[in-house]
């Protein structure tokens, strides 16, 4: 478990001090995948780097598994870091060492006996699917392969926590997906708590259990990923969600629409129940989809539709009440003309 308590980080610059992280409180549970989202400059990277004290917070506490890291220095801090793995956007492998040597480096940091290093390296390479690249130098690897080496290095000393600093931001969509799946597998099989920062909502949607949204160094929203996707509160969160679930309908199309326009949201298994077709059959109305999608967040469906309903106003109202009765959230966007 990671407990971040009233954490602030200020930077001294030529123009005076700048606040990077502003009194953040977060609790990240053991075994969960926690995503921190925000635009660049929001302070998410600073926050992440404070967790393993790559940056020393100006004030506040960081507890990892009950140990207050801000109290540690030198050798004690180094020992604590052995149990906190980290991967980076640009991988940061030692370019002059082979894949195996890069991983062995981490093992040496933990004083692993020589005879055990070779077997552990192979074990790790197997886990990330790179056994054939053992003696290759990083320059000969693709981005995704480099990140796999980074992951193997981070996991070398059986950490309880894995910090991911924009780990997929330099990768193409397919590679991103394969790295995310690997992270999810690591999370499940090794029960490693993962904290990741990203500006891509797709990453969060794919693997995070809970998330926080950051702006100007502060956490503006925090909660279960599904809840936040289905019911975002802060404007910034809504903006991020719209990057995944967009309801932009061209004005020319909207002008042609005469009926009532409603936004319908189905959560969980309700999304697959055919509520809309039942509604159209049971009430004297016609439905017309303008936009819609079903997103699967951690394999739970979240349906969002923008539709036009035509018919007698009282029938439309009854139809909407019916949908709400079946568990949908309905919001009238335009009442029709």
């Amino acid at each position: 478990m990671i407990r971040i308590n009233d954490l602030s980080k200020e930077y001294e610059t030529k123009k005076g001090s700048v606040i990077g992280v502003d009194r953040v409180n977060l609790t990240i549970n053991e075994g969960e995948v926690f995503g921190i989202v925000g635009y660049s400059g929001a302070g998410k990277s600073s926050l992440l780097r404070c967790i393993n004290l790559l940056e020393r917070p100006t004030s506040g506490k960081i507890e990892v598994n009950g140990l207050d890291l801000t109290k540690l220095r030198g050798e004690q801090l180094r020992k604590a870091r052995l149990k906190i793995g980290m991967i980076f956007q640009h991988f940061y492998l030692i370019s002059q060492k082979t894949v195996a040597e890069n991983i062995a480096f981490a093992l040496k940091a933990a004083d692993t006996p020589k005879e055990k290093i070779a077997t552990r390296v192979l074990e790790l390479l197997e886990m990330v699917g790179l056994t054939d690249k053992k003696d290759v130098y990083p320059a000969q690897l693709s981005g995704g392969q480099k990140q796999r080496v980074g992951i193997a290095r981070a996991l070398a000393n059986n950490p309880s926590v894995l910090l991911c600093d924009e780990a997929t931001s330099a990768l193409d969509p397919n590679t991103t997906l394969s790295i995310l799946r690997l992270l999810k597998k690591i999370n499940r099989e090794l029960n490693i708590t993962i904290v990741l920062i990203t500006h891509e909502m797709n990453v969060v949607k794919e693997i995070c259990d809970r998330m926080a949204v950051m702006q100007d160094g502060r956490v503006v929203e925090e909660g279960m990923v599904y809840d936040i996707f289905s019911n975002p509160q802060a404007d910034l969160t809504k903006e991020f969600i719209s990057s995944v679930v967009s309801f932009e309908v061209p004005q020319s199309i909207l002008d042609q629409v005469t009926g009532r326009i409603v936004k319908v949201l189905f959560k969980g298994n309700v999304a697959g129940e055919g509520v809309i077709s039942d509604m159209v059959q049971n009430f004297d109305v016609r439905g017309n989809f303008l936009h819609g999608s079903i997103e699967y967040i951690q394999e739970v469906p979240l349906g969002l539709f923008l539709m036009e309903i035509q018919g007698q106003p009282e029938n439309i109202t009854r139809a909407i009440t019916y949908m709400e009765g079946r568990g949908a959230q309905v919001e009238v966007v335009r009442s029709g003309h």
């Binding site: 030692i94 370019s95 000393n157």
Partner: protein
């Protein structure tokens, strides 16, 4: 101005001896520069602001000393170090004596080159090593030196070539060497033949060193 082959043959033993002396002086001072200058350069780097052994006092003192030695013209250093030379090699003349001053000049020169080479390393790689829990010694041995080795070879090449130039002044303390020969015969005695021959030798020497350095630097780089 022609080349008198007979004269070259006549003085060939002299030229060979001078070449040997140049090699001797460069060899010793390069060895000393690496043995002392490399750690010094590493300390200058790792004690810098924001690095893992940040220490303003050490950085400030060492930086000052390095700058001071580097600002003294070599010819003055050569004379100023006579007492030290006497103490170390029990003589103030000859190639061994000249090597003392050459070494003293080469140490800060090479230290700054090392520092610059280390600065070229992506800070992220160092940070990743810190995050992994590596000790400062491990970071120096397994990250800084391997990552900078190609650039360090270029730096050694540069140092050798500078030493070739500096060693020409070793004649002041009777150090000998090719450069000294060029000055003594070519400059003072208007012996064009010897001047041309020695200069050609120096040109060839520098070219070979540079080529060798470039080739080695490329051959060991895994990027």
């Amino acid at each position: 101005m022609g080349i008198d082959i007979q004269h070259v043959i006549e003085l060939w033993p002299e030229i060979l001896k001078a070449f040997g002396q140049t090699m001797y002086m460069i060899g010793i001072s390069l060895a000393v520069a690496i043995i002392i200058g490399l750690p010094l350069g590493i300390i200058l780097f790792v004690t810098d602001r924001g690095l893992f052994l940040e220490n303003r006092v050490i950085k400030g003192i060492l930086g000052f000393i390095v700058n001071m030695v580097r600002s003294i013209p070599f010819i003055i250093l050569l004379v100023a170090l006579i007492p030290l030379t006497k103490l170390l090699v029990d003589s103030t003349i000859g190639p061994a004596a000249a090597s003392v001053s050459l070494s003293v000049a080469a140490i800060p020169f090479f230290a700054r080159i090392v520092e610059t080479s280390l600065r070229e390393i992506d800070k992220g790689v160092i940070e990743a090593a810190i995050a992994v829990g590596a000790t400062p010694w491990m970071i120096i041995k397994d990250v800084l030196l391997p990552e900078a080795k190609s650039s360090l070879v270029q730096g050694i090449t540069l140092t050798i070539i500078s030493l070739v130039a500096y060693s020409a002044m070793a004649g002041v303390v009777g150090g000998g060497g090719i450069g000294d020969l060029a000055i003594r015969f070519g400059y003072y005695r208007y012996d064009n033949t010897i001047m041309i021959v020695t200069v050609v030798i120096l040109i060839v020497l520098v070219q070979i060193i540079q080529q060798l350095g470039d080739w080695t630097s490329k051959a060991i780089d895994k990027r």
